[in-house]
């Protein structure tokens, strides 16, 4: 009988941890589908429950919040209508209006966030535990998309650092990776692009610990609508929008830079850092200006600020770094 020793397996044949995790999550999705089919077989009266998860109705529920000194002031808020109908959430279609139409099936309860990697002990947090971990704050932030449009959004959440403290990362943890929900049976639009799912984003540890980085549960004082990344997402206001991963199911602490979705898709267009920077053009357009969403066409154009206007708070994170090279 041939028993392979570990040294017989070429390293090229070992799945990377990401692919492994992706497959596991895929299998979990498949198991869910089988369970749903089984439940449907139990009786027609339960069909409604299977196809219309009770939970999607949570969006819009009022949240109890407190004010935050970290809010941006003096700018008109983008309307709730525009924030919820102009989205990039490619799992639900590549059109800006697609997520609003297609994301209603996202099952936001039960929901857990798995924490693993360089931590004292791997843990799983329930969404309702996370909601009660710290008081929820209203945080108004500018939101600048790499596509050169911008919004002003009143998010609800608390500093990501508060959550990270609960994760008890080891001193060897230098980066943190966020993985988004992925289930092909819910997100039927993932083949509209050639992206490798699940969506992955990451931050350097000191960036993630910055008080402005927000673990986000709501907007306009209410539970996040599905298309905006329910039930929990990241918001990093000084970086381009795609760094702010939506619908988080796993947080991983790593000793090296994690692979991130858009960086893998086009490394010359989307850097790992992707700080808002008017001095570094995107290969296909200038980043010096942006279009504010929800105002007439003749009034949209505005100047993009370094670090999206949060330079005073975050510039020190990058002192000594060449931001043209590390874009």
């Amino acid at each position: 009988m041939l028993i392979r020793k570990p040294s017989d397996i070429p390293s090229s044949a070992i799945s990377s941890k990401d692919r492994y995790l992706n497959r596991r999550r895929f299998l979990r999705g498949a198991a869910g589908t089988i369970a749903a089919t089984g439940a449907a077989a139990l009786g027609a009266e339960r069909l409604g429950e299977v196809f219309n998860p009770r939970i999607t109705a949570l969006a819009g529920t009022k949240l109890e919040t407190v004010k935050s000194p970290l809010s941006t002031t003096g700018e008109d808020l983008t309307s709730l209508e525009d924030i919820t109908h102009y989205n990039n959430f490619y799992e639900f279609g590549v059109g800006k209006g697609d997520p609003a139409r297609n994301a209603s099936g996202l099952p936001t309860r039960p929901w857990t966030v798995r924490v693993d990697g360089k931590v004292k002990n791997p843990k799983t947090f329930d969404i309702d535990t996370l909601l009660k971990l710290r008081p929820l704050e209203d945080r108004i932030y500018r939101h600048r998309c790499v596509e050169a449009w911008s919004m002003v959004i009143p998010w609800v959440g608390y500093s990501l650092s508060e959550f990270i403290k609960q994760c008890e990362p080891l001193s060897t943890a230098k980066y943190v990776q966020f993985l988004s929900y992925y289930d092909k049976s819910v997100e039927k639009w993932t083949s509209e692009s050639t992206i490798f799912w699940p969506y992955s984003e990451g931050l350097r540890m000191d960036e993630a610990m910055h008080p402005l980085a927000l673990l986000t549960f709501g907007l306009y004082g209410e539970v996040l609508p599905n298309q905006d990344g329910a039930p929990v997402r990241i918001v990093v206001p000084w970086k381009y929008g795609f760094k702010s991963a939506k619908s988080i199911v796993a947080v991983r602490f790593l000793d090296k830079e994690p692979p991130t979705t858009w960086n893998e898709q086009a490394p010359n267009e989307y850097g790992f850092y992707s700080n808002v920077n008017p001095n570094v053009d995107h290969p296909r357009w200038s980043q010096k200006t942006d279009r504010r969403i929800g105002v007439p066409f003749y009034a949209q154009r505005r100047t993009t600020l370094m670090f999206n206007g949060y330079g005073e708070q975050v510039a020190s994170l990058y002192s000594g770094m060449d931001l043209k090279k590390n874009f």
């Binding site: 102009y86 692009s193 086009a266 200038s286 066409f297």
Partner: protein, 205 residues
């Protein structure tokens, strides 16, 4: 075809071709162009340019396949000119709402960004075609020369589709549909020509 039918169909074509512009103007006046009006104007005009170019390129293969539809030729110039019209609006939108009439920014864009270079190239190729679209110009150039010149529309359409692919994010497949249709229309030309030659050959033989 009866003259009254032709007039009716031409009127309908005009209305259909002006439709997208009408909706944009209505949207601009009532401020209902959606969350990102600038992008809406740019995408609508760009998409209609390609759509009209493709429709104008469908006329010849359709006439060859279905001889009863040979009257479609009376609509080709209209479709082509409207394609140029929307292409021009598309470019002016870029000049006004994206570059803010800043000549240096525009030159830098053309030099640095290949999707803009490709778009400008497509528009420049359409320009002489639009200029020589009058009956007078056709007579002046002679049918043969005119035909040869107007074959540039194939290159212009390909430029347009490449411009679209290079503008979207890598991996996004939105331009696929228009690309496939254009591919079929361009391929149909040599295929139909080959088929025709064979038929003529059989008759001769």
């Amino acid at each position: 075809m009866k003259r009254s039918t032709l007039i009716l169909l031409k009127t309908l074509t005009w209305v259909a071709c002006l439709g997208p512009l009408g909706l944009l103007i209505y949207g601009a006046v009532t401020n209902t162009l959606g969350p990102d009006p600038t992008a809406n104007i740019e995408l609508t005009t760009g998409y209609n340019t390609l759509l009209l170019l493709i429709l104008s390129l469908a006329v010849t293969p359709l006439r060859k396949l279905v001889p009863r539809l040979s009257w479609l030729i009376k609509f080709r110039r209209l479709l082509g000119l409207f394609a140029f019209f929307y292409g021009t609006l598309h470019m002016l939108t870029y000049v006004a709402l994206y570059a803010g009439f800043d000549v240096h920014a525009m030159l830098a864009d053309i030099e640095k960004r290949r999707f803009i270079t490709m778009g400008v190239a497509g528009w420049l190729l359409l320009l002489p075609l639009a200029a020589t679209s009058t009956t007078w110009a056709i007579r002046k150039l002679g049918g043969k020369n005119w035909n040869r010149l107007h074959r540039m529309v194939y290159v212009a359409a390909v430029c347009g589709v490449i411009h679209y692919w290079w503008q979207v994010k890598p991996g996004v497949l939105s331009p696929l549909r228009l690309t496939l249709v254009l591919g079929v229309l361009l391929l149909s030309r040599p295929v139909l020509a080959w088929y025709e030659r064979r038929r003529v050959g059989v008759v001769k033989g």
